[in-house]
Symmetry: C2
C-alpha cells in the first residue's frame, strides 16, 4: 500500500512511538555540540596562524551547524540497536557530519553550486572574502581551491573524531573496514556521477543503481551498519538494518529528487534547481519514460536542449534535505545545455505524466517495507521498542519532508 507524503497516516505512526520520539532532537543537539567543539578546537590548533583564519573558522562552524545530522543519527541508531548509550559512540558518529561536510563542500565546487543549507556555498563565500580583501588574482579560482582544502581538512578531522572518540580499540577495529569502504565508495560514487554527467540521459534502472550506490547507501545504510558493527551486532541484525537502510536511503533520495523539482526555498537551495541544472534524476527520467511521445519531445526540448545530448548527471549525490545534490544555475552544465529552463512549464509537463505520483508511490512502498521490517524485528525481540520507535520516526522523516 502506497504512502502519500504528508498524509496524517504517517504522522500518526510517529505519535505512536512516543517513548523514543524525543530522541532525534536530543541526538541532534548532542551531535551539534560535539561537531562544533571539534571544529573550534581543530581550527584553533591548525588554522589560527593563517591569514583569514577567523573568517575560515567561522565559515566552517556555520556550515557544520546547519546540517540535519541524519548520518550521525543513523550511526548512533545502529549502535543503539546492539549496545547501550555511550558518549564515545556519539562522538565517533558525530564525525560522520565532518565526512559529509567534506563531500558537500567539494561536490559544490565540482558542480559550481551557489547555494547550500540556505547560504552561499563555501567556495562562493571564500571567493567573496578574497574580493573584500582586495587580493590580486582570480577570486573564483581562490574560492574553489580554498574550499577543496577545507573539505580535505574535514575529511581528516572526521577520521580523527572517530579514532579519538574514546571508544576501545576493539570497538573501533570493528568499524574501520566499513568506514574505509564507505569513504572510498563516496569518492568513487562522485566520480561515477561526473562520468554520468558527461553522458546521455540514463534510464531509470541506471539512475536507481547510482542512487542506491551513492546517496542511499551513504545516507542511511552505511552509517546504520557502521554503528551496529562497532556495537558488535550479529549478522542477522546487520542484515535487518542494511535492508531497512537500503529502502529508506532510496526513499530519501527519491524525495530529494521530487524536492529538486517541486520544492520551495525550504531546501536551502533555489526552487526547481534540478530543472535549471538539467539533472537526470529519478523523477525526470521516470517522467520521460511515462510520457506520451509528444510530451516527451516537449520535455526533452525544455530540459535537454535541441540535440538531446545535454548533460544528464544523476541527481543521486549526497542527499541531505536542506543540503542535497545541488547543481545551481550558472554551472558548466547549465551554461552548456542551452538557455534558461522554463521551470513552470517543465513542472507542469512532469506533473502531467503522473511521474510525481508514481515516485510518491515508490517512496511509500519503501517506507512501508521498512516499517514492516521494524515491526517484525520488534515482534520477535530482535529490536527494542525505543530503537524501533526512532527507526520508524526516521523512516518517515527521510521520506516525507519538505526540506
Amino acid at each position: 500500500m502506497a504512502v502519500e507524503t504528508g498524509t496524517t497516516r504517517q504522522r500518526e505512526h510517529v505519535v505512536h512511538v512516543a517513548p523514543g520520539a524525543g530522541w532525534p532532537e536530543e541526538i541532534r543537539r548532542r551531535v551539534h555540540a560535539h561537531v562544533a567543539d571539534i571544529v573550534r578546537r581543530r581550527c584553533a590548533e591548525h588554522v589560527h596562524s593563517v591569514p583569514g583564519s577567523e573568517f575560515v573558522s567561522g565559515v566552517l562552524a556555520d556550515f557544520v551547524g546547519r546540517g540535519k545530522y541524519l548520518r550521525s543519527m543513523f550511526g548512533y541508531l545502529g549502535w543503539r540497536a546492539a549496545a547501550p548509550d555511550s558518549p564515545g559512540a556519539l562522538g565517533a558518529f558525530a564525525g560522520l557530519e565532518l565526512l559529509h561536510a567534506f563531500a558537500l563542500i567539494q561536490d559544490d565546487v565540482m558542480d559550481g553550486s551557489q547555494l547550500r543549507r540556505g547560504r552561499p556555498t563555501v567556495h562562493v563565500q571564500l571567493a567573496g572574502w578574497h574580493r573584500e580583501q582586495g587580493m590580486s588574482g582570480s577570486a573564483d579560482r581562490f574560492g574553489e581551491s580554498a574550499a577543496v582544502l577545507l573539505g580535505d581538512l574535514c575529511l581528516v578531522w572526521a577520521e580523527q573524531a572517530m579514532r579519538e572518540s574514546g571508544l576501545p580499540a576493539e570497538v573501533l577495529d570493528r568499524g574501520w573496514p566499513r568506514y574505509d569502504a564507505m569513504r572510498s565508495e563516496l569518492a568513487v560514487g562522485q566520480f561515477a556521477d561526473l562520468v554520468n554527467d558527461a553522458r546521455r540521459v540514463p534510464d531509470l534502472d541506471e539512475v536507481m543503481d547510482v542512487l542506491r550506490r551513492k546517496s542511499g547507501n551513504y545516507t542511511v545504510r552505511r552509517p546504520l551498519e557502521l554503528g551496529a558493527a562497532m556495537a558488535g551486532a550479529d549478522e542477522e541484525l546487520l542484515t535487518l538494518l542494511g535492508d531497512y537502510g537500503t529502502m529508506i536511503g532510496e526513499a530519501f533520495q527519491m524525495r530529494d529528487d521530487v524536492l529538486g523539482v517541486f520544492g520551495t526555498g525550504a531546501t536551502g537551495k533555489s526552487a526547481g534547481d534540478d530543472l535549471t541544472e538539467r539533472k537526470a534524476t529519478s523523477l525526470v527520467v521516470l517522467a520521460r519514460e511515462l510520457a506520451e511521445p509528444h510530451t516527451r519531445a516537449r520535455l526533452d526540448a525544455l530540459l535537454l536542449g535541441s540535440d538531446n545530448g545535454g548533460s544528464g548527471g544523476s541527481g543521486a549525490e549526497n542527499g541531505d534535505g536542506g543540503a542535497d545534490s545541488a547543481r545551481e544555475g550558472g554551472t558548466d552544465s547549465a551554461r552548456e545545455g542551452g538557455g534558461p529552463v522554463d521551470v513552470a512549464a517543465a513542472r507542469a509537463l512532469i506533473e502531467s505524466t503522473g511521474a510525481r505520483r508514481r515516485i510518491d508511490e515508490l517512496i511509500g512502498t519503501r517506507v512501508q517495507g521498512a516499517l514492516r521490517l521494524v515491526d517484525g524485528a520488534v515482534a520477535d525481540g530482535r529490536l527494542g521498542d525505543d530503537v524501533a520507535g526512532v527507526l520508524r520516526a526516521m523512516a518517515v522523516r527521510c521520506a516525507d519532508r519538505a526540506s
Copy 2:
C-alpha cells in the same frame, strides 16, 4: 664552511658511508612494490565498476610509481634510528607516498600545472581522456574534478596503509597524533600558500618561514619524527632527528628553488618554470634583496609586471625533486601577471646579483650542520653507524641534486 653543490667533497662523504649506502635504493624498491600493490588492490576493490576505471587505475599506478619516495625513506629512517627492520613499518611509511600523491594531485589542480614527474599532470591526463571519449561538457572541468577525487582517494588510502600495516596498536597509537598534525599542517600550509599567492612579494624571512612550515617539515622533519616516535624513540633522539629534519628540509626546498630557475627538464617540469610562473621563491626574493636598485627594477619589470603587484606565491610547496611545487606556464598567475617572461634575461639578472651563490652557501651551511649533528650522535652512541650513514647520504641527496 660552505658546501658547493656537486663538489667532490660531498660525494666522497657519501662513499665513506658504504655500510648503508645501498639502503636508499633498496628501501625505494620495497616501498615502490608496496605502494603499487596498494593502488592495484584499492582500485580493484573500489574503482573497477566505474566507467574509465582502467584508465584511472593506470594513471594512479603510473603516478605513484614515479616518485622519489623521500618521505617513506625518512619515515623508515626515523623508525630505524630507534628500532630494528620491520616489514610492517615499511608498509606504514609507504602510505606517506599516497599522502604525497594526494597533495601533489590536488595542488596541481589548484596551480593549473601542466607537467609533473615528466608526464602531463593527473588532471590534464583526465581531461584528455574525457576528450578522447567524446564526452559532452567541459573536459578541463571534468579533469580537475576527477583529479580532486583521485587525490581524496589517495588521502584515504594513505591512512588505511598505515592502519593496516600490521604494526601493533600501541605502535600506531604513538604515531597517530603526529600523523594527523602533519596532514592538517599540509592542507593549512597549502591554504597559506594560496593566500600568499594573492598578495604582494614577501620578504626573505617570510619565504623562509613558509618554506620551513610547509615543504621542509613535510618532506623531511615530520616523516623522520613520525617514524622515530612510532618506534618508541626518546625525546633526545626525537630532538636530534627534528633538528636534522629542519636543516635538510630547508636545504631541500632551497635546492628546489634553484632548480625552479636554473634546472633542466630532469626535474620533470618545464625549465625555468618558477620564472614563467612568477613565483616568489627564496632565490628570487634573495636576488631582489641583494640587487642594486637598477638591477632590482629590471628584475621586477621582468618578473612582476609593471605594477610590481603581480602574484608572488611562495615556491615552498611540496618539494619532491622531480615532482615539486609546480606552477606551470599557462596558469592563472602567469596569465594575470602580464606577458611571457624572458627566462634567459631573468636568469642572467639573478646570477648577476650573486643570489645563486648565496643560496648554495645557505644550503651548504645547513648540510654541514646536519652532518655535524649526525657525527656527534654517532660519537656518543645515540645513532648506529648504518642509520647515520644513510642520514648522511640522504642529506647530500636532498641538497645536491639536479632533479
